[in-house]
C-alpha cells in the first residue's frame, strides 16, 4: 500500500512493488486552469524538456537518456476539472536487471531536479533557439490534432458546451497565442510554478530503503502548500439545447453529445453514476453499443464517458450523415428507458463486474496506479480500492434511476460531410 511523506515543498507517495522491471517517478504540478495561462503552461512543458545546462540540446539530452538504458523522460499536460496539471514522468530499468550497477534512480532524479533548477538560461530567459523550435512544434502539433477528426470534434463539443467556462478552455492552449510568448516570460512563469504549483510525487517500483533520504538530498521545492479546486459539477447558463452542425470534406460523420449530470468525483452519487454510465455506454455490453452498433449496424464505435472532474458526460459515435436523426433517436430512447427504471438485474451485475475488473487491472500498470492515487489525493477522497469496489457493489436500482433522471442533453456537435441537409 501507499506510504506518504511530507517533503520540502512536495508530498512524496511511495507505492512499493516488485512486479515491475522498471521504476517510475512522476511529478505532478497543479495550478488553476485559466484562459490566460493555458498556452504559456503548455509551451513550458515543451521547452523545459528540451535541454538543461549539462545537456544543452535535444540531441545531447537524448544521448544521456540512451546511455541510461533507454530511460524515459516526458511531460504531459492535462486538466483535472478546474485544475491544469503538468506531469513530468521518468521511468528506467531497475538495476537488478542490468549487467552493471548504474544508480539510475539517483541519475534520473538529479535530471528531474535539473529541469527546474539548472535549465539552459540565456539573458534571464530560456534559450531563444530552443523556444523558437518548440513554439513551432507546439503549433504543428495543434494543427495535426485538428486534422484528426475524432479529437477535433470532441474539442469542438467542449468549446461550444463550455463557452465562457473552464470546460471550454483547451488544456493544450490557443494556437494564436503561442507566438507572442517571450523566452523571458516563459522562464519567469516556470519560476512562478516552482513556488505556486501544488506538487505531488509518486514512485512505483522496487523502492530502496533509503529512498526518502535520496529525495531529500536531490530534490527540494519552496515550502508552500496550496489547495486548488479540481472536480466540480458542470452547470450551463443556457436552458435550451444547443445544436451545432459543421461541414467538412469527410466521409464519416462524427456525432458528439454533451450532457449535464449534476454529479462529480466527490458527490455521494459518484458511485451510482459510474454504474449508470457502465450500463448506458461505458463498455461493449452497454446499451449504446448493443443497440446502435449490434442491433442497427449504424456504427463501428459508440460509447459514453463519465468525466468525473468536469461533472458531465459525453457520448460519441462515427456514423453516416443520413443516420443522424435515427442515431439521436436511439440514444434518446436508451436514456429514457434507463430513466424509467428499465434495468435488468443481469445488466447491473455485469456493469459492476466490469468496473471491478477494470479497477483491479489498474494495479498492473504503474501509470494507472499513479493516476488513480492522484485523483484521490487532489480531491481529498480517502478511500481504498476495496472500499471503492464495495460502494459500487452496493449501488441499487433506485439510485441508478435517480442519477439517470438528472441527465440532461446540453449540446450536440455534429461534424459531417459537405452534402449534409438538416431536414432529411
Amino acid at each position: 500500500m501507499e506510504n506518504v511523506y511530507q517533503m520540502s515543498g512536495y508530498t512524496l507517495h511511495l507505492i512499493p512493488t516488485q512486479k515491475f522491471k522498471t521504476m517510475t517517478i512522476s511529478l505532478r504540478l497543479q495550478s488553476p486552469l485559466s484562459k490566460e495561462t493555458t498556452t504559456m503552461r503548455t509551451l513550458l512543458t515543451f521547452v523545459m524538456m528540451a535541454a538543461t545546462q549539462d545537456y544543452p540540446s535535444t540531441k545531447s539530452l537524448a544521448r544521456y537518456l540512451d546511455e541510461n538504458y533507454g530511460a524515459s523522460l516526458s511531460t504531459h499536460i492535462t486538466t483535472k476539472g478546474k485544475s491544469h496539471v503538468i506531469n513530468v514522468t521518468t521511468s528506467f530499468v531497475n538495476d537488478a536487471y542490468l549487467p552493471t550497477k548504474e544508480n539510475l534512480l539517483e541519475k534520473q532524479l538529479q535530471l528531474l531536479s535539473d529541469l527546474f533548477y539548472r535549465p539552459l538560461i540565456v539573458d534571464n530567459g530560456f534559450d531563444e533557439t530552443i523556444v523558437q523550435l518548440k513554439k513551432k512544434e507546439l503549433k504543428e502539433k495543434l494543427q495535426a490534432n485538428k486534422d484528426d477528426k475524432f479529437s477535433y470534434s470532441l474539442d469542438k463539443l467542449f468549446e461550444y458546451m463550455g463557452r465562457d467556462q473552464v470546460l471550454g478552455i483547451p488544456s493544450t492552449g490557443y494556437e494564436n497565442e503561442i507566438q507572442k510568448i517571450t523566452p523571458q516570460q516563459l522562464y519567469q512563469y516556470m519560476k512562478k510554478c516552482i513556488v505556486e504549483d501544488e506538487k505531488h510525487i509518486y514512485v512505483v517500483g522496487d523502492i530502496p530503503e533509503n529512498i526518502v533520504d535520496i529525495f531529500q538530498r536531490l530534490l527540494q521545492f519552496p515550502e508552500q502548500y496550496y489547495d486548488y479546486p479540481s472536480a466540480y459539477i458542470f452547470q450551463s447558463p443556457r436552458h435550451e439545447l444547443l445544436e451545432v452542425i459543421e461541414k467538412q470534406d469527410i466521409t464519416q460523420s462524427k456525432l458528439n453529445l454533451g450532457y449535464q449530470i449534476q454529479c462529480d468525483f466527490t458527490s455521494p452519487q459518484h458511485y451510482a453514476f459510474t454504474v449508470f454510465n457502465a450500463i448506458f455506454g461505458g463498455f461493449s455490453q452497454s446499451r449504446l453499443f448493443q443497440v446502435v452498433r449490434e442491433k442497427h449496424s449504424l456504427c463501428y464505435y459508440i460509447s459514453s464517458s463519465y468525466d468525473a472532474f468536469n461533472g458531465m458526460m459525453i457520448v460519441n459515435a462515427g456514423i453516416e450523415q443520413k443516420d443522424y436523426q435515427k442515431t439521436l433517436d436511439l440514444i434518446h430512447q436508451q436514456l429514457s428507458d434507463l430513466q424509467n427504471g428499465n434495468v435488468r438485474e443481469e445488466e447491473m451485475k455485469i456493469a459492476k463486474m466490469m468496473l471491478t475488473n477494470a479497477l483491479k487491472k489498474t494495479n498492473d500498470e504503474a501509470s494507472s496506479m499513479i493516476a488513480l492515487a492522484y485523483n484521490r489525493d487532489i480531491t481529498h477522497v480517502r478511500e481504498t480500492s476495496e472500499e471503492y469496489i464495495e460502494k459500487l457493489m452496493n449501488v441499487t436500482l433506485g439510485e441508478i434511476v435517480d442519477v439517470a433522471k438528472k441527465v440532461k442533453l446540453d449540446t450536440i456537435y455534429f461534424l459531417t460531410g459537405k452534402e449534409f441537409h438538416e431536414n432529411i
Binding site: T17, K19, Y69, D147, Y300, M354, T356
Partner: protein, 431 residues
C-alpha cells in the same frame, strides 16, 4: 510439459504441444492481478489465395475476409462470446494483421472459465446468412473511419506505393466493395482451413498456476475432434522488384502536410535467426541515423524540416520487407529530397562505436521494459512466435550484433526501390 528458465529476466516459460497440434505457452507473473490470454492463428489479410481444406485447387477469396471472420467469430449458437466473457467480469477483443488473427481476453477473476471460453468460442463457428449481412454495415463504418484519418492514409499509401501484386497493398479490412461480396460459405472455408489447431498458438500470461492451467487446456482439447490437416498451401506471390508507383499525392481536408518515404527490400531472408538479426540490426541502424539523439535529426529539426512526429521504421513480415521514413512537415518536397539524398549516400555515413554501444544499451532497456506488461509480452511473443523466434532470444541476439553487421545492412538501402507518399491540404491543390 517443458520448462524454460530465463534467469536474467527472472521469467519462466511453460510449453506443451497438444495431441491435435495446438501449441500452448504459459508465463506466470507473480504479483499481477490480471491474466491475459491470446489465441492466434497464422491467417491474416494477405492470405487471400490458398487451397481450402480437403480441396485440391487454389481459390481466391475476397479481400478483407480474415478481418470479417474475426468479427463473426464472436457469434456463438447460444449467444455472443463478448457477453459470455462479460458475465465472467472479463473483457475480450480481437485483431487482424497482415499475417495473423488473434483473439484475447483479459480478466482479474474466473481465469479457468475464461481460458476455456476463449478456446471454445474460437474453435467453433456459427454463421447464418443474416448475421453475415448484418456485420457489413459495421465493417463499412470501420473502413470509413480510417478513410478520414490522414496518418493512416499516408502510412498505408506509402505501402501501396511499393507493391504491384503482393496483397499487403490491400487494406486489412478490404474495401466497401470486397466486403459486400463476402458470404457464409467462403467464411466457413477460410475458417476450416486456417483455424485448425496445428495452425494456432495459445499464450496465457498472468496470475496462473502453470500445472493446473496446462491440465485444464489438455482436457479441453482432448474433448474436441478435428479432422487431420496437411500443411496449408498458400499462393507464392511473384512480386516484381520494381515499386508500383514512385510518387503519389493525396489531397485531404487537413491543415498539416505529411510525407512518408518508403523503400522496398526485395532480398527476403528465410532463416528465422537471420531475420531476427536483420530486424534488430535495422532498428539500431535507424535509431543511429534518425532518432532524437542523431545528428541528422538535430540538423533537420533546426532546418524546420521535421518535428516530433518524425520517425523511421522497419517492417519485416512473412514474405515482404520495407522501410518507412517521414512525418508531419511544412516542406514535404524538401524533406523528401533530404531522405532520398541520404539513401543515395548511405555508405558515406559512418557509424561510430560510441553511437553503436549507446543505442544497444537503449534497446536493451526497452526490451526489458516490455516484461512489465502482460499485454505487451503476449503481443510480442505471438508476433515473434509466428516468425519462428522466442522473444527471450532477442536480448542475446542484440548483444551479438557487431558494427560490421550494421554496415552490411546499408546495402539494403537501394535508391531504385524508393517511393514517396504525400498528404496535402486541399487548398494547396489550386496552386
Amino acid at each position: 510439459m517443458k520448462i524454460f528458465k530465463y534467469p536474467t529476466l527472472k521469467e519462466t516459460l511453460y510449453y506443451e504441444e497438444m495431441k491435435n497440434g495446438l501449441k500452448v505457452y504459459l508465463l506466470p507473473k507473480v504479483g499481477f492481478s490480471k491474466t491475459y490470454g491470446l489465441f492466434s492463428t497464422r491467417f491474416g489479410s494477405i492470405d487471400t489465395t490458398f487451397v481450402p481444406l480437403h480441396e485440391s485447387e487454389m481459390i481466391k477469396v475476397p479481400d478483407g475476409i480474415a478481418h470479417f471472420l474475426e468479427h463473426k467469430m464472436f457469434e456463438m449458437e447460444n449467444g455472443d462470446a463478448s457477453d459470455a466473457f462479460a458475465r465472467l467480469g472479463a473483457n475480450t477483443n480481437a485483431f487482424t494483421s497482415s499475417s495473423r488473427t488473434a483473439y484475447l481476453f483479459s480478466t482479474t477473476s474466473h481465469e479457468k472459465e475464461c481460458i476455456e471460453l476463449l478456446l471454445d468460442f474460437v474453435q467453433d463457428i456459427y454463421l447464418t446468412d443474416e448475421n453475415v449481412e448484418k456485420e457489413k454495415g459495421i465493417i463499412n463504418q470501420e473502413i470509413r473511419m480510417y478513410d478520414d484519418d490522414p496518418d493512416w492514409r499516408c502510412y498505408f499509401g506509402s505501402i501501396q506505393n511499393l507493391y504491384q501484386l503482393h496483397p499487403v497493398k490491400i487494406d486489412i479490412a478490404g474495401t466497401v466493395e470486397t466486403v459486400a461480396s463476402i458470404d457464409k460459405d467462403t467464411l466457413e472455408k477460410c475458417y476450416h482451413t486456417f483455424y485448425h489447431p496445428s495452425n494456432m498458438m495459445l499464450f496465457v500470461v498472468g496470475n496462473i498456476d502453470p500445472q493446473q492451467t496446462m491440465q485444464l487446456i489438455r482436457g479441453n482439447q482432448e474433448n474436441k475432434h478435428f479432422e487431420k490437416e496437411n500443411p496449408i498451401q498458400r499462393e507464392v506471390v511473384n512480386e516484381p522488384l520494381e515499386v508500383a508507383q514512385n510518387d503519389a499525392i493525396l489531397y485531404m481536408d487537413v491543415t498539416m502536410p505529411k510525407i512518408i518515404v518508403s523503400l522496398k527490400i526485395n532480398d527476403i531472408l528465410q532463416v528465422p535467426q537471420e531475420r531476427l538479426k536483420r530486424e534488430l540490426g535495422m532498428n539500431l541502424l535507424l535509431d543511429i541515423f534518425f532518432a532524437k539523439s542523431s545528428s541528422l535529426y538535430e540538423k533537420w529539426l533546426t532546418d524546420e524540416l521535421i518535428n516530433d512526429s518524425f520517425s523511421a521504421q522497419f517492417t519485416q513480415e512473412r514474405d515482404y520487407c520495407f522501410l518507412q521514413i517521414g512525418g508531419d512537415t511544412l516542406y514535404p518536397d524538401k524533406l523528401k529530397d533530404k531522405i532520398y539524398d541520404f539513401v543515395r549516400h548511405i555508405h558515406d555515413y559512418s557509424i561510430s562505436k560510441d553511437d553503436f554501444e549507446r543505442l544497444k544499451k537503449k534497446t536493451m532497456g526497452i526490451l526489458i521494459s516490455v516484461f512489465n506488461s502482460p499485454e505487451a509480452i503476449a503481443n510480442m511473443f505471438s508476433r515473434y512466435y509466428f516468425e519462428g523466434v522466442m522473444i527471450f532470444e532477442l536480448i542475446d541476439c542484440l548483444n551479438g550484433l557487431t558494427l560490421d553487421d550494421l554496415n552490411q545492412l546499408k546495402d539494403l538501402f537501394d535508391i531504385q526501390y524508393i517511393s514517396s507518399f504525400t498528404v496535402l491540404p486541399q487548398n494547396q491543390s489550386q496552386k
